[in-house]
């Protein structure tokens, strides 16, 4: 894998979907408008989505679902950001967790500051095999990452900063504690990292509860660009098949030179199939083409269970979901699956375990929703029947009373 990060040509169009994985955003531009690089195209709730900036200059075309930006090739840019507070600057720059979760970085900073964290961990352990975006960033940009780390540590007043590169990454940064994390996938998640580096079991707590905050290395890099250069987050390093490229947010997946096959976005294991018009999002770490593999029947070897960080039994989950046994699923804790895909990697029969679990989760949510709806409808129906019954019996009583009085009356005649 080449160490140097490639730069690609400007694509013919940049596409920004308004419905992102983190939530909805509303367009802040109109069709036909000219924008400069750095203009706000759309904005959502600052606590979930935040701001979306134009990655180049050009003309806007608005559709109900997307903002399209047709580049004019001039690369006009807005003046740099100027906010004096780091969290504010990071918020203005639209920085979110680039490791994959997409949690707004300013919010995390604020929470960490309020919790007075003492330890800052920079996560450069690749989340998935065959993804090397973090690694390539770490290799060529030590100084920038160091600058980002210093800025974050100063803001948080953290006394300890740990840089955690993954296997096979040699980093030598002056005055920095480096703790290489080796071993089997998955070790790149925050929880695993905190356990491995500090020996702390988080269980249900967040890292900030134990005085730790973890930032992905790409996020740290983006913070550095925003803090020291006033830049907004408009590009990131993406592993495209087997090389790493600087891609603008919004770069259409279709315009990447990829071999034939099923295009997966987000990593070969935990990613999903590219949809029509899919483009690079802030959280997109990788775009890969899957060579279709032939699955064989489960031989119950248990390797999936051995590899599951949550201690689940993927083979049993798989069997239950495929058989539609939703009732047995609680004991198997389907909802605890963190979708890391470790079981997929371990399975000698190459079964699509993770995909099945995702399907199972959504199917179960749907079933629950339907059951809830049915319960509501039933309650409504019983209430209505009771009401009608009440009315009817009141009517009956009234009638009987009327009849009785009439009878009495006829008698008297």
């Amino acid at each position: 894998m080449g160490a140097a990060v490639k730069r690609l040509h400007l694509p013919s169009v940049l596409r920004y979907p308004l419905l992102t994985r983190m939530g909805r955003c509303e367009p802040r531009v109109v069709s036909g408008a000219r924008v400069r690089s750095g203009d706000v195209l759309a904005a959502g709730n600052a606590r979930t989505v935040g701001l979306l900036h134009a990655a180049t200059s050009g003309v806007i075309e608005l559709t109900p679902a997307e903002v399209l930006l047709h580049p004019d090739g001039l690369e006009d840019a807005l003046p740099p950001l100027a906010a004096e507070d780091l969290a504010k600057r990071v918020c203005d720059a639209g920085i979110v967790g680039l490791g994959g979760a997409g949690y707004p970085t300013w919010l995390k900073l604020q929470q960490a500051k309020r919790a007075a964290v003492t330890t800052l961990i920079v996560n450069a352990v690749e989340c998935e095999p065959d993804v090397s975006a973090d690694r390539s960033l770490l290799r060529g940009h030590e100084d920038e990452i160091l600058a980002g780390m210093r800025a974050l540590a100063a803001y948080l007043e953290a006394s300890r900063t740990i840089l955690a590169p993954g296997e096979g990454m040699d980093v030598d940064i002056a005055d920095t504690e480096v703790a290489r994390v080796t071993g089997t996938y998955p070790s790149g998640s925050e929880r695993t990292l905190v356990r491995r580096l500090l020996g702390m079991e988080l269980q249900d707590r967040n890292p900030t509860d134990v005085g730790v905050v973890v930032f992905n290395v790409a996020t740290v890099f983006a913070v550095h660009r925003a803090w020291h250069h006033g830049e907004r987050l408009v590009e990131r390093v993406v592993t495209v098949q087997d090389e790493n490229c600087w891609l603008r947010i919004g770069h259409p997946v279709r315009e990447l030179a990829l071999p034939e096959g099923e295009v997966t976005v987000g990593g070969p294991v935990t990613g999903w199939l590219a949809r029509q018009g899919e483009s690079i999002a802030k959280t997109t770490r990788a775009v890969t083409v899957k060579t279709p593999v032939e699955s064989r029947p489960c031989i119950r070897c248990g390797w999936c269970a051995d590899s599951c960080p949550e201690g689940l039994l993927p083979q049993e989950l798989f069997r239950h979901i495929n058989a539609g046994h939703w009732t047995g699923m609680d004991a198997l804790r389907l909802d605890d699956c963190v979708e890391c895909g470790a079981c997929d990697l371990a399975c000698p029969s190459r079964l699509p375990l993770l995909a099945t679990f995702r399907y199972g989760k959504s199917e179960r949510r749907e079933l629950e929703r339907r059951a809830r709806d049915a319960a509501v409808a039933r309650d409504r129906f019983t209430a209505r029947s009771a009401r009608l019954e009440r009315l009817r019996s009141a009517e009956r009583k009234e009638r009987e009373a009327r009849m009785a009085s009439r009878r009495e009356w006829t008698h008297r005649l």
Binding site: E294, R296, P297, C298, I299, R300, C301, G302, W303, A305, S307, G311, L312, L313, Q315, E316, A331, L332, R333, L345, A346, P348, S349, R350
Partner: protein, 295 residues
């Protein structure tokens, strides 16, 4: 070796490789009849299964995992050398068709196919198994059982016995142990099963052994290295399909096999009961899992 890159086929091929020492030892001690068995069961098993899946699915996908050759090899080494080819074909058919394909193919069978094939042949053609076979290890085990009051040391003088176990079998067992340890080392076989089987068999034997008096039933060493103990412990009890998934259930499963082997060997009508011990434990595996599968 990185186990995570192996696929099902690799697992089966490696299991085949791990059987090579046992076959070499068996061929050396019991003659080329062992290899004749192998050729016949392999040919019959693979052809029968291929015919079956072709008739049902019109594709050969279901045989590509290479599990059938392993099943056939296990049958071939378990039965007497140069067994009548008809019986071998019968055993192979029972294994791949009745025990595996009828249940829906690999992964769905309840019973270990090799043991079903072996047991069916043993029950149907007992005369052919009378004086020799791997899983019964008849001569020595029988000699020890029907010895009419002789002490162990006296019986040991007979040519049926070797250094620690039954003559010849001890070497085959040692070879199977070597192959089995390899499988455990590359994490294809689950080490818990052989440990549980051998420990429980050893414990039972130790209880029934009083330093070789006339009532004694054979030492742990003797039981470990006679009959098909090592094959059963490392190659048959570890079949992931027919053994439980949860760790506690696996221990119980292995312990049950060891104890059943000892009981059938010592008190049953068959001299060695490995096949029946395994089949009985297979039968219990789903229930064990159901009871213990609380992640």
């Amino acid at each position: 070796m990185d186990a995570s890159t192996l696929d099902t086929r690799d697992i089966m091929l490696r299991t085949g490789v791990a059987l090579v020492p046992a076959f070499a030892a068996a061929t050396y001690w019991f003659g080329p009849g062992v290899l004749v068995n192998l050729a016949v069961t392999l040919g019959a098993g693979v052809a029968l299964e291929a015919g079956w899946v072709w008739a049902r699915f019109r594709t050969f996908d279901a045989v590509k995992d290479a599990s059938t050759p392993v099943t056939c090899a296990l049958i071939a080494i378990a039965v007497p050398p140069s067994l009548h080819p008809g019986i071998l074909v019968f055993a192979a058919a029972m294994a791949v068709i009745l025990a595996k394909q009828i249940y829906g193919g690999i992964g769905k069978n309840v019973f270990n196919p090799a043991m079903v094939g072996y047991a069916a042949a043993l029950v149907a053609f007992p005369a052919h198994f009378a004086d020799w076979d791997m899983l019964t290890g008849a001569t020595a085990l029988d000699a020890l059982r029907f010895r009419e009051g002789a002490t162990v040391a006296e019986v040991w003088g007979q040519p049926a016995f070797g250094l620690v176990g039954a003559h010849g079998f001890e070497v085959v067992n040692a070879a199977a142990l070597a192959g089995g340890l390899y499988l455990c080392a590359v994490r294809i076989a689950n080490w818990r099963m052989p440990v549980a089987v051998l420990a429980s068999l050893g414990a039972c034997a130790a209880l029934g052994y009083d330093n070789g008096s006339s009532a004694s039933l054979g030492s742990p060493m003797f039981h470990w290295f006679s009959g098909g103990t090592m094959l059963a412990a490392f190659f048959i009890a570890t079949d992931p399909v027919t053994s439980p998934s949860s760790v506690r259930a696996q221990w119980i499963f292995g312990i049950a096999i060891g104890a059943l082997i000892y009981c059938i060997r010592s008190f049953g009508a068959y001299p060695d009961g490995i096949a029946f011990a395994v089949l009985l434990a297979n039968l219990a595996a789903p229930a064990l899992d159901k009871a213990m599968l609380r992640p």
